[in-house]
Amino acid sequence: MIQNPQATRTHYLNVNYGIRSWLLTTDHKRIALLYLATITVMFMLGGLFAVLVRLELMTPAGDVVMSETYNKMFTMHGIAMIFFFLIPSVPAVLGNFLVPMMIGARDLAFPRLNLASWYIYTIGALFTLYAIVSGGVDTGWTFYTPYSTVWSGTNVIPVAVGIFITGFSSILTGLNFIVTIHRMRAPGLTWFRLPLFIWAHYAASIIMILGTPVVAITIVLVALDRLFRVGVFDPNLGGDPVLFQHLFWFYSHPAVYIMILPSMGVISEVTACFSRKRVFGYGFVAFSSLAIAFVGFLVWGHHMFVSSQSIYASLIFSVLSMVVAIPSAVKVFNWTATLYKGHISFETPMLYVFGFIGLFTIGGLTGIFLASLGTDVHLHDTYFVVAHFHYIMVGGAIMGYLGGIHFWWPKITGRMYSEWWGRLSALVIFIGFNLTFFPQFLLGYLGMPRRYHAYPEEFQALNVLSTAGASILGVGYLIPLIYLVWSMRYGRPAPDNPWGAKGLEWMTPSPPQTHNFTETPRVAEEAYAYSSPEVPVD
């Protein structure tokens, strides 16, 4: 009977035991797992609020909760999901784990800062949790003034403080990634040999660095306005509520690219691996990440078309919003071209890739409808917008995240997950997702406004479909939680490279030792040097 070889080998999980070795770790891999734990908790919290929202919306009348409570439900769903799940998800879990490994480094540039980032995130989350349990907040995740500063009677300040604090976690993570990628690449690893996952995280880090501080100071101004009635955004004193919206969206629009770019990085890696082909148009995909980061900062006014923003500014923002779609489309074309004549297989990560490509495309195209000024006047604040961003963030970003979790699960845990269950839950998620959100496009087009707990009778059928879909989606998300946790104990031990993938991270044992590499690797080949489709798989 063969002993489990891992029982004798030391790696980053078993090198130290005890809670102190985890809470005081500076190992980027352990920190990634700390993040995995906390963001999963916040995801479930956000999911709980979504369940309550969808429950209320099953019937036209507002009969499950009062409207004030409903306002809190969708607000806290948005806050938990955006700030505490989506923004950290891929970067803080997969990025933290993989960025040093993919570039042949022993750790990130600033390991202690990395740990501090996690503590900052957790403290911010705790503030927000406190605010939630002590009454909640009902301003919408966008906390527009003057409602948030003057009229709302809810816990705006604690949530604002929580988000302010957590923002620094994001900033420090981005800072760490940028310096690491610039200064700690292995010999021979030139910029254009880097995995596209790295390019994606570099671009997302630029956004974290440049955007987050602006929302941070905006939160400070809102807090000052609310606490001291100083009137920065108060029309009675000459303040302009729209100025708040400018400052808020300057960050919050690029924030959506923080959410999607790292997921796109995952898609590049997984697509190449399960097509056994290098990513088509590597340079284009790399530069498109930078282009998204750059142009993504120029479009925020498309959230403000009906806010009394000048129509000339709106015109500029509208055109730029069309332009920002182009680099995303470039990626989709290049991934598709990668698949063409590839040796394709349908492991679970690849199923999530297919889901991503299709659903992200739908979400992206519907964004064009919204970027168009005339159409947006009718669709603004309707369920069309809700469907649009859920297609991108859930159908896109979360699928990429789950695909990445599955793809690198053997490397992270040293265990294989159950492929059967993986494929089943991917399918359930795909079906549940579409059933939830496709009807919402129709609802929005028909005129149902968002953020209302009651609606006209004629919208009920579609809402019921949406709620049914949401219950399926919820189940779909619970299944991986179960089999992934199960696999950590009972899963088949993973080989170093179960997928036959290219990349420095796959040249280490599963799980890796604490310092990743026994000696610094030297890179001599291009990225994704998979054999051509004519030659048998290596």
């Binding site: 750790d107 600033f110 390991p111 200064r183 100071i217 400070v220 920065v232 000459g238 100025l243 400052l247």
Partner: protein, 214 residues
């Protein structure tokens, strides 16, 4: 990979790489600060364009002498900081400590004068909020000016306080002989931070004190 000096951390290949990483990291952080203060500058520009009269009036009620003196003090503290870094580069530890102390003193003087100015504003009922009072129809807009005045100088002062704290810690470490010509990165980095905070004031001073003088 051997320990060449006490500061080398295990994940770096050599001291040069570590220093380069630290430098790039600090500059990246300072850039986030540019955007952080940038939000306040944006609010300032928007409202100044809208309410030039109120901005001129508000600016007139600030003490230009104290502001100018503070500017000179802060520039002086940047000089002493730079000289401190220089001292650490040539291994003059006692000189380093002296310059760091001088920097702290000048920083403290700046904050002291700021406190005096804030007190004046408080006495004149120019602190925004329920106690604010200003004669005439543009009172609301003047309150906006003072809201931004306190937000911008207050945030700046907060950064100064943090800076003084960092400097005090640096003095403590210097007295223990931590810094040598081979390893003075923390002095260098905190120097960068201090100069940046000075630069913010270089812009705050004309924007708040000078633009309504004539």
């Amino acid at each position: 990979m051997t320990e060449t000096h006490p500061g080398l951390l295990h994940h770096f290949d050599d001291a040069a790489q570590q220093k380069e990483a630290s430098t790039l990291g600090m500059w990246t952080f300072l850039i986030t600060e540019i955007l952080f203060f940038g939000g306040l500058f944006a609010a300032y520009v928007v409202y100044r364009t809208r309410f030039p009269e109120a901005w001129a009036a508000g600016s007139h009620h600030l003490d230009i002498t104290l502001g100018a003196v503070n500017t000179a003090i802060l520039i002086g503290s940047s000089l002493t900081m730079a000289l401190g870094v220089h001292s650490s580069q040539i291994g003059r530890n006692r000189l380093l400590i002296a310059f760091l102390i001088l920097t702290v003193v000048l920083g403290g003087a700046f904050l002291g004068i700021k406190a005096v100015e804030y007190h004046h504003k408080y006495e004149e009922h120019h602190v925004p909020g329920p106690a604010f009072s200003y004669p005439g129809p543009i009172a609301g807009q003047v309150q906006l000016f003072f809201a931004l005045y306190f937000a911008m100088t207050g945030m700046h002062a907060l950064h100064m306080v943090v800076g003084v704290g960092l400097l005090l810690n640096l003095i403590r470490q210097a007295r223990r002989g931590r810094f040598t010509p081979a390893y003075n990165t923390p002095v260098d980095m905190i120097g960068l931070y201090w100069h940046f905070v000075d630069i913010v004031w270089v812009f705050l001073f004309p924007l708040l004190y000078l633009l309504g003088r004539h």
